[in-house]
Symmetry: C2
Subunit: 625 residues, 2 copies
Amino acid sequence: MPADSRSEAELATLHKELEGGNPNQNRTQKTDKITVGNYLFDRLAQLGVKSVFGVAGDFNFNILDVIEDHPRLDFVANCNELNAAYSRMKENSLGVLVTTCVFFLECVTLFPTDVSPVSSFGVGELSATNGIAGAYSEIVPVLHIVGVPSTAQRKKQPLLHHTLGNGKYDAYKEMAKHITAKVTDILDVSDAAAQQIDEAIATCVIKARPVYLMLPTDIVQQEIPAQSLQKPLNITPPPNAAEKQQAVIDTVHDLVTKAQGDVVVIVDACVIRHHVRNEVKEFLKATGFPVYATPMGKTAIDENNPRYGGIYVGSITPPHIKEKVENAKLIITIGSLGSDFNTGYFSYNIPQSRSIEVRCCFETRSNNSDAVPKLHSDYTQIQYATFEAIGMKEVLPRLAEKLSSFSQVAGAIEVPRLNTSVPEETSSEITHAWFWRRLGHFFRPQDIIVTETGTANFGILDVLLPEKSVLINQILWGSIGWSVGATFGAAMAARELGLERVLLFVGDGSLQLSVQEISSIIRNGLKPIIFVVNNHGYTIERCIHGKHRHYNDIAEWDWQNLLATFNDKKHFETASYRASDKDSLSKILDDSTFASTKKVQLVEAVMNALDAPQALQKQVQASSG
Amino acid sequence: MPADSRSEAELATLHKELEGGNPNQNRTQKTDKITVGNYLFDRLAQLGVKSVFGVAGDFNFNILDVIEDHPRLDFVANCNELNAAYSRMKENSLGVLVTTCVFFLECVTLFPTDVSPVSSFGVGELSATNGIAGAYSEIVPVLHIVGVPSTAQRKKQPLLHHTLGNGKYDAYKEMAKHITAKVTDILDVSDAAAQQIDEAIATCVIKARPVYLMLPTDIVQQEIPAQSLQKPLNITPPPNAAEKQQAVIDTVHDLVTKAQGDVVVIVDACVIRHHVRNEVKEFLKATGFPVYATPMGKTAIDENNPRYGGIYVGSITPPHIKEKVENAKLIITIGSLGSDFNTGYFSYNIPQSRSIEVRCCFETRSNNSDAVPKLHSDYTQIQYATFEAIGMKEVLPRLAEKLSSFSQVAGAIEVPRLNTSVPEETSSEITHAWFWRRLGHFFRPQDIIVTETGTANFGILDVLLPEKSVLINQILWGSIGWSVGATFGAAMAARELGLERVLLFVGDGSLQLSVQEISSIIRNGLKPIIFVVNNHGYTIERCIHGKHRHYNDIAEWDWQNLLATFNDKKHFETASYRASDKDSLSKILDDSTFASTKKVQLVEAVMNALDAPQALQKQVQASSG
């Protein structure tokens, strides 16, 4: 269904599905007026948001009151960039639009950091800076709601705590402009307030980027007209221009015809971020083209798909896969995001004359685009020609229809057979070469797998993941410590969605940056398995530079003691394991009680400080060479 | 000695004292050229910097190499806003200028957060945002050195990891402008590079504000002329205009004469931040005026000074102190910083006709100063007249001389007697009313006391601190979690300075934000005592809003298990104690082994969630009323 043809009635139905009821359920009586706070949270609830993350603070108390009293929202204390992961998960199962819109209360965030500060304005939001910038970079919709001083205080500018002491109350807002798609400042309760809120939320969802929404303390409880809440918020992307789209379809068809159907498809990050997994699946089903994924596109399509041929990442791709991709007469990349670590350090060997890129197009070109040969997400490219503003969601079904005639030819193209066997090694030591393949036999359909920036992000590339499993990583932004909060957010979303297992893979160095978020995980009754790759420091950094430098060392903690220390009033059941060799790890993995994840569990896998996944070693060679 | 009269020879001597040797000691041979990296770190070493904080990351490896190989610097991994505290401590003992200049490598920081991310550009520096903004707000000099992509990459703008994915490589630099006194970008190795570095460091020290210094990866190892290193860096503030200064001195003298010497002095934050403790001490010695301190000025003068009369904080000052201050015919405030929590929510009862404010003047007035009635640190005010750019350091000795004739009259003015007795309570429960007074008998001269934003910042106001003790807090910025990193930094500096005890007072809620920095404390062999006020959540917030709201609750950790969990390879000696009643706590405090701080120690003091220091209760009334 093309985006532009969705009627209001259909939107209303969609919203009902998302929220499991009508827009105003649980409000006891309808009135013409509603407080700004309730307007905002009713809108978010309509869009399927159930959990609101944050930390209490001076300028956001009355916002927190609204949430704590809201019939359909829960406030989840102590958060983190996890929220981004919450966004990522919720979209995945709920479809296109909405629930991606996670509510960052006040600041949340923190990235490598962690829990986030107790206050809103200033201290809170600035602690979130890395997390918000990461969400921008990685194309994750996060509504960052900031409780700010009252409108009267903002005019008078007294020397309040949490200010810079220079009277510049707008400094944080100015900073936010660099790392968000939109900054919205609700300065009064004129009729425009509802529209401002609607636009902030819609921009966040449609662009899949963070939006910064400022709520002065005195505005939250003031009333505005409630009327527009009766109409579902339109969060469909803008429609493609019909004639231009037809030109794209015809041109692609001509090229596929010339290539005699000898086509491969590469799926990349924006398939996931802009919610076209289903459209891509249907496109592949209709055309029969072989399909490969980039590291950031891994699990964009199920890896048990018989037409799936593995990961393509430029020069560091295994030769039998590399050959299949690069020798095709035409390569269609969908949702590309050409970052260094996602492309084998820009080493794609695909000439433009054989390349089509169907990209997401909700961004205008940046001002300095002349200087930037390949900004992602801002155009559709067919060989040498650029077609601006042709959205993937609308064009993919049309392309599927047009190209379905090639399915027989394309279906005959061989895809590489992928090796899933666990290597036999003489040493009992746990190596990356063995570890990830061994884990491959532990994974199950619908697992949510979070991998930290570091060895885990590269190791996971060597594993074929089961159908309907979801991989969450942060390859472009690459801020270590991110994965712990991400696991919290993913586990919250997984529980809402009825999914069972969430598995985190994190190095000992990275885990130290955001470790306290494990406490939030325990306290909320979530039950992920946390695999700690204990390799005595920053192994990814040792690979890149300073193999034996002290700055790559860390303090070695007693990981077996961690869950017990953070367990809220010792109330929850936890279990910790330590594996120093292959047999011990296998024994743990083979235990059905362990695998059923009935409590929070931590598995410490001891590895050599200088051992690394092959893909990481090759990446380092590529970027230094 | 007036600032403008300091000769080059004198500066050279000062520098020698600070660094304990000549500017180029330990460099085996002098050459005409030096690498940019070594130039920078030689300069910092000249200024007494010994420890460089940070975390390893992709764009700063070659900077880290320079530090790790530097003969006079140590790289201290895993840092935090602590560094600000390092600055604060080092200035305290080393005098006026320099060693306040702490080197934040890459990002360090994090505030409530903690350890800081592994990389420089983007992820690392943005995690530091709260910490840097806090240093700006609180007037703490932090040189924030950021390892950024190479000059070639910055021109080409490829889609590197740690970028926003939009080609805007300058976004972080633009953001930094809002929270620093200067942004310096070393783009080539022309002769100007040395000057750029010198200006960056001098601005940081003189303005006592953070400076953001960008070092592209390819610049670090390139060579520049070494010559200017032979000349000590001039970090003295600009001289006062002689005639205007004389007018200030004469006007003040006239007013004191009219007041017949009935004068009181209030010392505030900028006495500490701009290093005029000694000048203030001499001024008070010469004049005999009674002296009071604000919360942020506490320990700016020794509290065992017989002329010291306690804390003045507007309407929430104890009545016998309030009366003495507000009834004086003339009130001279030195280094004032009129923030909400520092003034009893702007409740000073001091008419301008009886007020003189000797302020620090290294800031130009902000653009929107019309809207801001009282920006601190930017003018000297005598009654209704403003005298711009009259620096405290130069004018105070002259005022001391001019006003010394009043010493006999002023010396006869009574100061309030301060109550240091521990209240007798029937309940065995540890209350704030008892706790802080009891601690007052535990403190010793030269103790470094760090209090977290929360109940601790208010409780400590009730205690008379011993001579030469130093109180470190963060009342203006007020970002919870700050104190843990601050304690790390303060303990590093204390060890360098030969000081024995560092004592941290932190609530259980705040400690959760930055807890991992305790691991850095242990790993570096530091031995502070960590007092955890275990009162089951954010008590300060409960006082302000939402007494029984869930958003003020936290997970309750096993604090007795914490040091053991974070102990590096179980290598260090630690001890943990838990006191649920007064007797148990007293017994711990009375143990001489405990008090001698031969190992890292943690004391958990269990208190009621709704109990709070009186000053906090009054502050809440004042700000809500």
